[in-house]
Structures are given as structure tokens and as C-alpha cells.
């Protein structure tokens, strides 16, 4: 059992910024991440490989700090008692004790079921980007990128760089909402530069607005997708080897919930987020939350929230007005983004009765749609009771049926029996 004054869960931008702010005080800092390399999704492949100077700067300081320990490929399972977390790697397990805890657990993609979405070759949008960064062979492959939000452009640019042929980018949002958002970008010049860079990289790629994938087809593996074009333009079939399809991000709030931190929901159509105060402190004293867990806002917001959490948790220096000002600005940007790319209702109607919704337990839409709550469906169909523990179908059933998941059960990730009885 080892002790850390500040334990950070998640080594993405928020977690690294938090650890960076905390370690300056000389306290013992631990950073836990379930991936082999730090950086999270946006700096996947390791922060030292990134062109973003903030990644390298944070990483260099942390790597050289004698009071910082990195625990990669380490999954948090549950809290045996307050101030402790039980964790496991592929081969071992341990209990980590902490003084303060900073949750920087990020977000996952919202993946919605449609006929054919379980075919090999259909992935999340960020999912295929992550796989590509891990060396997934995409050279010469035809890829359709679909779903919603600016992530689609970043995904397409990455895949193109890896040698894929991007057949089309399919964005479900209609043009007027996106135009309003683009006008709003004037308040954030750095985002305009980023958007222009992406547009230049993707200038030959068709960008179909007001459109969405209705179905995926293939014999054994994916061969084509059926695309619904908006405004009466009908259906179109696109041949492809991969469909990278994601509808935005959902905060990972399970660990926070398991630790008793209060969560909030902004109402219908908005994700559950961890409640954090002005100092990024959750409702549980000593536990902080930063980054996507408090609401999806991207790397800039994650960095400033992480910094505030790290400073607050150690009390060495107080966050400045500039920190809070930046946070407010990026939160406003995130809210505009969410409005512009709000999901269209048709996306909840694509699954047929024989379309699988719960991929772990092979539970179909026809078995689920007659139930009224998440709990009822779980008890009678095993929906959400497989290894992903509702991480994928939970987001889908919320969009399809309006169900909110129940309280989190421990362990929050699949655990080996020897981890629990040790």
C-alpha cells in the first residue's frame, strides 16, 4: 500500500495540469492512468510526441520531478474505505492511499445504435483515431467519418495523415446552427486558426451537412453505409472499409459517483456531469474534479480546470483571477458548441427491432423498447450488465428511451477475483 498526498486519476491534459500544479508544492503526487502512455485521448501516444508545446512543457516538468510517480495501465476499481482506492494492472493489484484526490477521468464517445453498427469495421470516430494512433493499419483504406461535432474534422485529418482515403465527412447538424457557431468563433481566435488549418488539410474531402448514417452493410465485415441526406435529398450508398461514427462526448462520471460525489444534469439531452465548485472541489471534501468530467469543454478548459484543481488541492498558491477568467471563457465556448451540434431526433429512431443495443449481452432494441426504466430493462434483459457495465449502451438508451442509469456499482471496471480478495 503506498501513500500520495495528491493522487490524480487520469493522465490527459486535465490530470497532467493538475499534477503539474500540485507537484510544485513538493508534495508526493501520484498519477494513475489505464493507458500505457500518458496524454489521454487528445495527446495520445505520449505528451512528448505532441506538437502542442503545453503537452511537452507539462510532461518535462513532471518527468523530472522526484516527487511524482506515474502508474500507467492501472485501472481504478473501487474504494475499500475513505482515502483509499483499489487498483489493478494486467498482472498485479494494490491499494493506494491519498490525502487529496483529483479526478480527471475524461469523457467517452456517444455511440448510437443503427442497423449494422456491430459489424467489424464500424468504430467510434474518436475510436478509429485512437486506434490509428496506436498503429492500426489504415493506408489505402476507404473511411467514412460520421456523427457530429468538430471532432469529426480532427479525426478525418488524422486518418488522412495515416494514409486513409476519406470518402466523406457526414455531419448531422444542419447548416444554420453551424453558421451561428462559426460566427461565435470570432471570440476565440485560436479556434479559428485551428478550424482553418483543418479545412486546408481536408479541402478535397466532401463534407455533407444535415446528413447521417442510417445503416451499415457488409458480409462479415463492413462494405458500405447508407446515408440519409437532409432536405429531401434522399438516400445515398457509400462504399467503405471503415465507418468512424461518433455523436459527441459523454463525461466519465462513474468513479466520482462511486465515491459519493454529487452529479448534476442540465436536463433532457444533456449529459450527467460531476458537480464542482469554484475551486473544482466536488461535494466530497478532499476530492476534486477537472476536465471533461465536469462537462465536455475540450483541451483548453481541461488545462485550466486541472491547474485550478491542483492549486486548490495543495493550497500552496491560490488560483488567480486570470485562471478563473480563462475557465469562464472556455466554458462559454463549450456551451456554444453543444448548442450548435445538438442531436437531431431522427437519430433515436434508426434502430430496428433486431438491432443490438447492448453489445456485451446481445440485447436488441425490440427487447428493450417495451421497458420503462434502465433498472427494469437490466433486470429482465441483462442490458448493461456485461463487461462494459453500461458505458456504451447507457449513453445509447438515454438517447433512445430517455433512461437515466442507476447508481454505480462496485467495482466500476471488471476486476479479477484475486484483486478483490487479496
Amino acid at each position: 500500500m503506498s501513500y500520495y498526498d495528491v493522487l490524480v486519476i487520469g493522465a490527459g491534459p486535465a490530470g497532467l495540469a493538475a499534477a503539474h500544479a500540485a507537484c510544485a508544492g513538493g508534495v508526493k503526487v501520484g498519477i494513475v492512468d489505464d493507458n500505457p502512455l500518458a496524454g489521454g485521448q487528445i495527446w495520445r501516444g505520449g505528451p512528448d510526441q505532441q506538437t502542442d508545446p503545453r503537452a511537452q512543457s507539462l510532461w518535462n516538468t513532471l518527468r523530472d520531478a522526484p516527487n511524482v510517480t506515474f502508474l500507467p495501465q492501472t485501472r481504478v476499481l473501487y474504494s475499500p474505505e475513505p482515502g483509499q482506492l483499489r487498483v489493478q494492472t494486467a498482472a498485479a493489484s494494490d491499494t493506494l492511499r491519498f490525502g487529496h484526490l483529483i479526478l480527471a477521468t475524461g469523457a467517452r464517445e456517444l455511440l448510437l445504435p443503427f442497423p449494422g453498427w456491430t459489424l467489424p469495421g464500424v468504430t467510434g470516430a474518436g475510436g478509429l483515431q485512437a486506434l490509428a494512433k496506436g498503429g492500426y493499419p489504415l493506408r489505402g483504406k476507404r473511411v467514412v467519418v460520421a456523427g457530429s461535432g468538430p471532432l469529426l474534422l480532427a479525426v478525418a485529418a488524422t486518418l488522412k495523415l495515416k494514409g486513409a482515403h476519406i470518402v466523406a465527412i457526414i455531419e448531422q447538424a444542419a447548416t444554420p446552427a453551424m453558421a451561428r457557431f462559426a460566427a461565435g468563433l470570432l471570440a476565440t481566435p485560436s479556434k479559428i486558426a485551428q478550424a482553418l488549418r483543418l479545412a486546408a488539410q481536408l479541402k478535397d474531402v466532401p463534407y455533407l451537412r444535415d446528413s447521417y448514417v442510417r445503416a451499415a452493410h457488409g458480409d462479415g465485415t463492413l462494405q458500405s453505409v447508407l446515408v440519409q441526406r437532409g432536405k429531401g435529398r434522399g438516400l445515398e450508398t457509400l462504399q467503405c472499409d471503415y465507418l468512424a461514427c461518433g455523436y459527441g462526448l459523454i463525461p466519465n462520471v462513474e468513479l466520482a459517483q462511486a465515491l459519493g460525489c454529487a452529479t448534476a444534469s442540465g436536463g433532457a439531452g444533456t449529459a450527467t456531469v460531476v458537480e464542482a465548485d469554484h475551486w473544482q472541489q466536488t461535494s466530497v471534501p478532499g476530492i476534486y474534479c477537472a476536465g471533461e468530467g465536469t462537462g465536455v469543454g475540450g483541451v483548453d478548459l481541461a488545462l485550466v480546470e486541472g491547474r485550478i484543481a491542483g492549486l486548490s488541492a495543495t493550497g500552496q498558491i491560490v488560483p488567480t483571477h486570470a485562471d478563473f477568467g480563462q475557465r469562464a471563457r472556455w466554458r462559454k465556448f463549450a456551451a456554444g458548441l453543444a448548442r450548435a451540434f445538438a442531436l437531431r431526433p431522427e437519430l433515436a429512431t434508426l434502430a430496428g427491432d433486431d438491432t443490438i443495443v447492448c453489445r456485451c449481452e446481445d440485447v436488441c432494441h425490440g427487447e428493450l423498447r417495451t421497458h420503462t426504466t434502465w433498472r427494469c430493462a437490466k433486470l429482465q434483459t441483462r442490458c448493461g450488465m456485461g463487461p462494459c457495465q453500461g458505458r456504451i449502451c447507457g449513453g445509447a438508451t438515454e438517447v433512445l428511451y430517455g433512461w437515466r442509469p442507476d447508481a454505480v456499482r462496485m467495482p466500476i471496471s471488471p476486476a479479477r477475483i484475486d484483486t478483490i480478495i487479496a
Binding site: P36, D48, T69, R108, G124, R359, C360, D362
Partner: protein, 104 residues
């Protein structure tokens, strides 16, 4: 109680350094990859992206790419239910996918 390996940052950097290629086996077939390549990627390089069979027997392949969906789980060095998207290839590693029985 197992020994729990906490890596220092220096170790981590050494592991991430690009060095020689490494050879592992996917369903008893040898494949050589560069360091830093995920097991999920090596499986795809070996010819089929399929990682597991569903409860109903259908072929499944990686979906989320980030350790959430559990679709990419395979057996690595005899240890079942390992997430191939979150595991880096290592020299001499043995990987078995759920696709094997149908492929044979």
C-alpha cells in the same frame, strides 16, 4: 500479494523510445511490428480485425479504441479479457483472438 509495479517517468520514457522491431504471435502466426504499436493494431495487421465473438457468436472488432467498450478483448499470454487497444505489443507476446475457432 503480487508486487505492484509503479513506473517512474524515466522508465516510461525508455519504454516509449523507438528502438528495434518486435515479434509476437497472433493466433500462433508470427508478426513483426514497431515498438509503440497496440495489440489491436497488430491483430489488424495480421489480416483480420476481429477480436472476439459476441454472446450470439457474431464477429466483433474494436469499437471505442480507448478502453471503454470491451469489444477488443483478447487473451494475451494466457490471460483472458485483456483490452488489446490499451496494450502495447511486446517481444515474444502470444495473443489469441476469439476469431480463431471460426477461422480454423
Amino acid at each position: 500479494m503480487f508486487e505492484f509495479a509503479a513506473h517512474t517517468f524515466a522508465n516510461n520514457r525508455a519504454n516509449g523510445d523507438k528502438g528495434d522491431s518486435l515479434t509476437l504471435s497472433i493466433n500462433a502466426r508470427a508478426i513483426t511490428v514497431a515498438p509503440g504499436v497496440s495489440v489491436a493494431a497488430a491483430i489488424a495487421m495480421a489480416g483480420s480485425i476481429v477480436t472476439r465473438r459476441s454472446v450470439g457468436g457474431a464477429a466483433r472488432a474494436p469499437l471505442c479504441g480507448m478502453g471503454v467498450c470491451q469489444e477488443c478483448r483478447v487473451t494475451i499470454d494466457g490471460r483472458p479479457h485483456q483490452l488489446s487497444c490499451q496494450t502495447l505489443c511486446a517481444d515474444g507476446m502470444h495473443v489469441q483472438t476469439g476469431a480463431l475457432e471460426r477461422a480454423a
